[in-house]
Symmetry: C2
Subunit: 204 residues, 2 copies
């Protein structure tokens, strides 16, 4: 477009691919839920996984629960935007899931492992990659214990992994500290508002 | 830094150089005043100009009022970050003004002509360039008439210039429509929050 007044940058902006990552226990799920509840343009991306369902989880809603051989075939067939092995199970985002959201005018929100950001950025440089940090390692440990879902050896392993996970921040576009959830949600919402105002998104 | 948790991305972010531009009458001054009042980290950049002072304007506060020959020497001596001739007068931002603000930990806010953005970006690629748009040309005309400071021929000239000015949007980083001032201020504040969260600003 040559004259942006003929369009309206507040409504004509194309949907965004939004990636949230961070170490286990940092509060990504609570943050994603609050974001999704507050912005009708956002829609959750459902991942595929080889992990068995937990109590109450529904196939196609929480995850697509795929057996190992199907996941392996999907990887070989180039069906995944990103995938990673985490704590012994594979998790991945299907390209079709993202295309589907975008075609409906929705901005898919990917809550994915820290290894995933770089892969998404390679295939979709226009994606918005947000890395969520805990305010300290002490707070991260407290949150992992507070969930009450994992036995001690699992918590110890998650904490050992956290330092390595946090090194992936460098592959992301934005850093947000999740100290209080309200403040973190506000910052992520500001990032989305800013990204929707970027000139590069109107230069097509 | 290798581990961002050792720093705090909410407080350790370096100051930003913030540029606001847009066609005459779009409401840049009101927007800048609201921004400056709402964020103690921001500080207004005072421009130099060859325009004579209007009633009530104070040298060094509203502008540095420089005679033509001094401005010409300043340009030749490389003192300016940007300068432009607008409606027959020259206006410019002194590099020293910006360095001074940054050295004090403040983010200078430059309310400058649409020609200035590209010059600033060349010398300071880390600057945040925001282009303010009116919702329509009709609204722009109404605002120019509403100020009551300019005679009709001046308003007519400003309106003719507006289309040419708006073409400079492509040199900027962000587009913000100033429909209601509250919404526009909110969007600019979101942009500053996002820019302060960008990973590139922590990779030094």
């Amino acid at each position: 477009m040559s004259d942006p007044i003929l369009h309206d940058p507040r409504s004509d902006v194309p949907p965004l691919v939004v990636v949230l990552s961070g170490p286990s226990g940092v509060g990504k799920t609570a943050l994603a839920n609050r974001l999704l509840a507050s912005d009708a343009a956002l829609e959750r991306s459902v991942s595929a996984t080889t992990r068995p369902p937990r109590a109450g989880e529904i196939d196609g809603n929480d995850y697509f629960f795929w057996p190992e051989d199907r996941f392996t075939e999907g990887v070989a067939g180039g069906l995944f935007l990103e995938w990673a092995k985490v704590h012994g199970h594979r998790y991945g985002t299907l390209k079709a899931t993202i295309e589907n959201r975008l075609a409906g005018g929705k901005s898919p929100v990917l809550n994915i492992d820290v290894q995933g950001g770089r892969s998404v950025k390679l295939l979709r440089p226009d994606a918005v990659l947000i890395f969520i940090l805990p305010p300290s390692y002490e707070v991260l440990e407290r949150r992992l214990r507070g969930r009450g879902t994992d036995p001690d050896p699992v918590i110890a392993r998650r904490l050992r992994n956290a330092k390595g996970e946090i090194e992936h921040w460098i592959d992301y576009d934005y850093l947000v500290v999740n100290d209080t959830l309200d403040e973190a949600v506000g910052r992520v919402r500001a990032i989305l508002t800013a990204e929707r105002s970027r000139v590069v998104r109107f230069r097509s």
